[in-house]
Symmetry: C2
Subunit: 371 residues, 2 copies
């Protein structure tokens, strides 16, 4: 056809003349049949009447020989479907994030279970979302799972309508009409503190996460409600705020102990995250205090860190949340393809649970003094 008229040599174009991957045409040529025959031999059911057994055999053999794989992009173009989902997250700093890892595990599991692959897109910060997220809605994935969008912006003005999307732990009113998966952190914190009261603890210090994180606020709310239920009013300086890191926890704890020298040691510390709790334990260890004999310490999230250390903590079902997000996303995608409306809850709330551990025990009979 096009090679009937030999062309003069020309400078190499920017786009390579042909892909290095074998194509259906290659297979067809190799098998001595038309592209169509090859296509239906490869795709048709085992006993489709489309091609003869003999032809199928030849085509299969040729495909095998050439290590042929149907081109995913061409398929996506015709099927209007990539069988891939995107997972969007912000990467805070270079330090990998246990929280992300947990949700990611669930997403991967869900994707595998539904025969999807997962593309990960990381944003340097949430500020990039309005420019980067729309750029991902270009047919490369069938839908998006977005982890922890920020409160201030509901995305209404910049989120493309046409790509199905599920948010995880969206705070506030992210994309009204979209689907969100979250856990009831307030209830989780409440239950943990309630159990600590039941164990006999009274003076419980909360070293919480930073201002501006709705999750941190909700944990404080739960802490306060459990106190209210128990008829206890925690002194104002029993609620601290620091960054969601071990360093943050250690510093906050250390400074607090410093400020309260000579006063009685609290019965327990409720960390706003696992990392904070670990930091608190460090600061306590430096003073020679033993956990849980002298003071109990509990965390929040129960990620890898807490599990490995057998730390008592509120377990957020992060893995399940990732999993659920994918399941719902697939439903959204299906509905969108059929041009149907998605019927199902628009906010899915999972319940945290309180996990016991070696860092939580009954309080001392005689409180220690901070030295």
């Amino acid at each position: 056809m096009s090679d009937s008229t030999p062309k003069p040599a020309e400078a190499p174009p920017k786009i390579p003349r042909r892909s290095s991957l074998p194509t259906l045409a290659d297979v067809a040529r190799e098998a001595g049949v038309s592209k169509m025959a090859a296509s239906s031999a490869l795709n048709g059911g085992q006993n489709s009447a489309r091609v003869s057994a003999e032809t199928r055999e030849r085509v299969m053999a040729a495909a095998e020989r050439l290590r042929y794989r149907p081109n995913a992009n061409a398929r996506a173009l015709t099927y209007r479907r990539t069988n891939a989902i995107g997972f969007v997250t912000t990467l805070m700093g270079r330090e990998p994030n246990a929280y992300f890892l947990e949700v990611f595990g669930g997403v991967i599991e869900g994707a595998m279970a539904t025969g999807q692959t997962t593309a990960v897109f990381t944003l340097g910060s949430w500020d990039e979302a309005p420019t980067r997220i729309p750029a991902l809605c270009d047919g490369r994935v069938d839908g998006l799972v977005v982890l922890a969008p920020r409160l201030e912006d509901d995305g209404e003005s910049w989120l493309p309508e046409h790509t199905p999307m599920v948010s995880v732990h969206a705070s506030g009113n992210w994309r009204a009409g979209g689907v969100n998966v979250e856990s009831d952190e307030e209830a989780g914190a409440y239950d943990m503190v309630r159990q600590m009261f039941a164990l006999g603890h009274r003076r419980i210090l909360h070293v919480g996460g930073p201002e501006g994180f709705p999750g941190a606020d909700r944990r404080i709310d739960g802490y306060m409600r459990a106190h209210a239920d128990a008829g206890v009013t925690p002194p104002r300086d029993h609620v601290l705020r620091t960054s969601f890191t071990a360093e943050g926890g250690a510093q906050a704890m250390q400074a607090w102990l410093q400020r309260h020298r000579g006063r009685p040691l609290p019965d327990a510390v409720f960390g706003g995250s696992d990392a904070i709790a670990i930091g608190c334990m460090e600061a306590l260890a430096v003073r020679g205090l033993n956990v849980p004999r002298d003071i109990s310490v509990v965390g929040f999230d129960h990620t890898l860190l807490a599990r490995t250390l057998h730390m008592a903590a509120v377990r957020q079902p992060l893995h399940e949340m990732g999993r659920r997000a994918v399941d719902v996303l697939v439903q959204l995608i299906e509905a969108s393809r059929r041009d149907e409306a998605y019927v199902g809850p628009s906010n899915i709330v999972l319940l945290p649970e309180t996990v016991p551990g070696r860092t939580l025990a009954e309080p001392r009979r005689t409180p220690l003094l901070i030295d």
Copy 2:
């Protein structure tokens, strides 16, 4: 054109009539120009002579209004390039893996730096590789980073030639001719044990990883070489093997202590991984032993766990390895596109370093007895 002859209503086909995403044709129609004009208005440089400023303006406005994004699959088809790389890993069990997370962080960083996106493909086990990996070489990614392929199989028989690939921590002769990135674990272990000797430690227990893991073997090799250098022959029962988990470490340590009651406590424990070391510390704590006062404990990898706990450990540059793997992969992809040969090392070896921490100190003067 095709809508000139109205067709009778028909049953909805399996493939949706048209994509829900706006296309270039939509933009062109909206702007009242041809597809071509729209294309060059959108792609051409700011002052390309291709279209008039007025046309460009109209096209841009239309694109904006429609929230237009060029379809990634169509582009991939014409450019023969997706600007995506794949990251293949085996997921052992449901528990997320700190080792994976570290490398992944580097891969993500490298991908972002080179303007690629990352697709993650997980295998249930390495047995799936011969079927799953070739299936990924279908144009959906430009190349693959494969984490920790197994020793027994060099992949020669089933790995497609046409997709650039970089392995990380491949043991042995995986894909002769391919590029591999690894770290010198033997040297890492050697240096750590050497430093422990320098600190005064003599009786060092090694609780290593399981048989069949080349990495575990190499760490033992380094441990032995450091001993040989110091002129010390460790008793045979000073090298244990267990699974790469905290439970494994705890069990092995506990059992060992049990078996050696009444005998002197070792000066230190060298864990074959961070998790193993943590398990050992647990088992020691149960017996009331203090780290590092009574006995030092060090780990291997220096992942999130070790960093958070300020544990002394051999740091494998996992993040850097992921990063390097992507950089090399991009080179391979470029070379492949230009039909050139890749010039560069086929095995890139990074050096681990020994990181001090709170769990490693000078040994006791007077050894304790195990009770």
